[in-house]
Amino acid sequence: MMILERNTLLIMAVLAALFPLLVGNQYALHIGIMVLFYAVLATSLNLIVGYVGEFSLGHTAFLGLGAYAAALLSLRMGLPIWATIPLAGVISALFGAAIGAITLRLRGPYFVIITLAFAEVLRIIANNWMGLTNGPMGLSGVVQPALLADASPLAAKRFYFYLALAIAVVALYLAYRFVYSNNGRAAVTVRENRYVAQSVGIQPFAYAMRAFVLGAFLAGLAGGFYAHYITFVGANVFGFAFMVSMIIMVLIGGKGTLVGPLVGALLITVLNEYLREFQELRMSLFGLIVIGVVLFLPNGLMGFLNLRRERRRATPAAAAESHAEAPGGSA
């Protein structure tokens, strides 16, 4: 699994790096940039949903904090992009530690609601704190890097593509190291069975917290990138629409795998563009897709593929026995 995922990720990175060289179309590059942006977001959410095993509906808190942080650092303090994006990640991570300290004590539906409540509180603050966030008008004109001053639009898109790719590579490197280390194993142990985890010496809260803060950091990076790329930040970065996209990506791809959310990000971003002309119809379809995934693809595409792989390996020797017990029943 580990080697397979690593190789898949490497191939994906190489393909992504070649993409702008083969494509000279601004629109296609924009789609590519959004895919990478969502890949980072979905990866960061997956650390919580897939590895902590708790369902956060407030992950946009960290996207939004990162976006506002980068915009403010750039507009008010004149910091350059290579400083604002990492700082956006750090600020998000700090908030992640504070919010995690409160929310990770709760589980199940309580965790869902309280994380959502935090994101909503931040959204309302962003909408009303005129002095800091410029309220509903948002922060516009986030400063572009100097080297784009007299670049062509196509060159600018290429620049942002590689910036997004760099962030995605960092995000996946960190996530990969985390997941395939003692930390990731400990988090999975906690997710699967808190009692076993404690009885082998794992402090459940510590590992949930690490994954949560890492997730917040990565979402903050994505937010920082978003601020510079879109050049405008409004309270909608805390909104439910981003949250829904992220969730669908993680679930369709398959939570608890690294490749899954990337596949989800690619599929959904492209589908989203494809359906752009049908505004509400598109969202209606999204709703149906979510329902369909829950009912027919509960472990996402990766889960589906793994299951098939395992089936094929198991036949014919263990075919009979694989009918005996079904997965999913937890003690």
């Binding site: 930390n183 009885s199 690490r210």
Partner: protein, 263 residues
């Protein structure tokens, strides 16, 4: 007990342990000592309070009164994970494994303590990290073999039979390298032949893997076979303590078990 004097300090020492749930006195004033090198049996009819004792000693419940000392440290009321880090690891009566993971992954997960690392080393691993990982993998494979699960190494836990699950649970506990291993009915659901094989594995563990074992078990022949000393609980209190054959013939103990049979 004469044996106690042979060992200057017991490994685990429990004094005056009590737990009440609402009005129910589940555990009342229990004293017990587990010495280094010994297999200690804890028996008693259903509902006697054995599992509650386990939960109190390993920190899953907080005692209403009493103290627990392990290797000279007071661990009363500590969190389970801190107690595990001191080398006291338990298994659960209701089977608890990581169902979605393979046998090997389960046991590897049990090696948490020997592969702990700083966050920096997580993201930028140095040679020590990969060495610890390699050692943990070797050790995990060895433990799986030791428990006789080698053929099931890569099988997901949810496909295991009941007997194999019990073995896996012990394997996960062993992976944490405990000094004292506490097993709650590890042979429940095994047939008598499997139970006897399990008994011989247990005996070999005491020599090679752990210093001492506390065993809760209803299978009397297994208890008689492997335990050096036995304590009998009844309605939360200590009824008798001594060598297995001594306890077996204690009229009070017989009464307690027969009383249950009559009820």
């Amino acid at each position: 007990m004469s044996e106690v004097q042979n060992f200057p300090t017991p490994m685990l020492s429990v004094r005056g342990l009590c737990k009440t749930f609402g009005g129910l006195k589940a555990v009342q004033d229990i004293d017990l000592d587990v010495n280094s090198g010994e297999v200690f049996g804890l028996i008693g009819p259903n509902g006697a309070g054995k599992t509650t004792c386990f939960n109190l000693i390993t920190g899953f419940y907080t005692p209403t009164a009493g103290r627990v000392t392990f290797q000279g440290h007071d661990i009363t009321g500590h969190s389970p994970y801190r107690i595990a880090r001191r080398g006291l690891v338990r298994s659960f009566q209701k089977t608890n494994v990581l169902k979605a993971l393979s046998v090997f992954e389960n046991v590897l997960a049990g090696h948490y303590l020997s592969t702990r690392q700083t966050l920096l080393a997580t993201f930028f691993p140095h040679a020590g990290v990969s060495r610890a990982e390699r050692e943990a993998r070797d050790s995990a494979a060895r433990i799986v073999e030791l428990m006789g699960l080698a053929a099931r190494m890569d099988t997901p836990a949810f496909r295991l039979s009941c007997g194999e699950l019990r073995l896996l649970e012990v394997a996960v506990a062993l992976a944490a390298k405990p000094a004292l291993l506490m097993l709650d009915e590890p042979a429940a659901g095994l047939n008598s032949q499997e139970a006897m094989r399990f008994g011989s594995i247990l005996k070999s563990l005491r020599r090679s893997e752990v210093e001492s074992i506390v065993l809760v078990e209803h299978n009397m022949s297994l208890v008689m076979e492997v335990c050096d000393r036995v304590m009998v609980m009844h309605f939360g209190s200590k009824l008798a303590e001594g060598r297995p054959e001594q306890v077996k013939n204690d009229p009070q103990v017989i009464e307690a078990y027969l009383g249950r049979a009559r009820a």
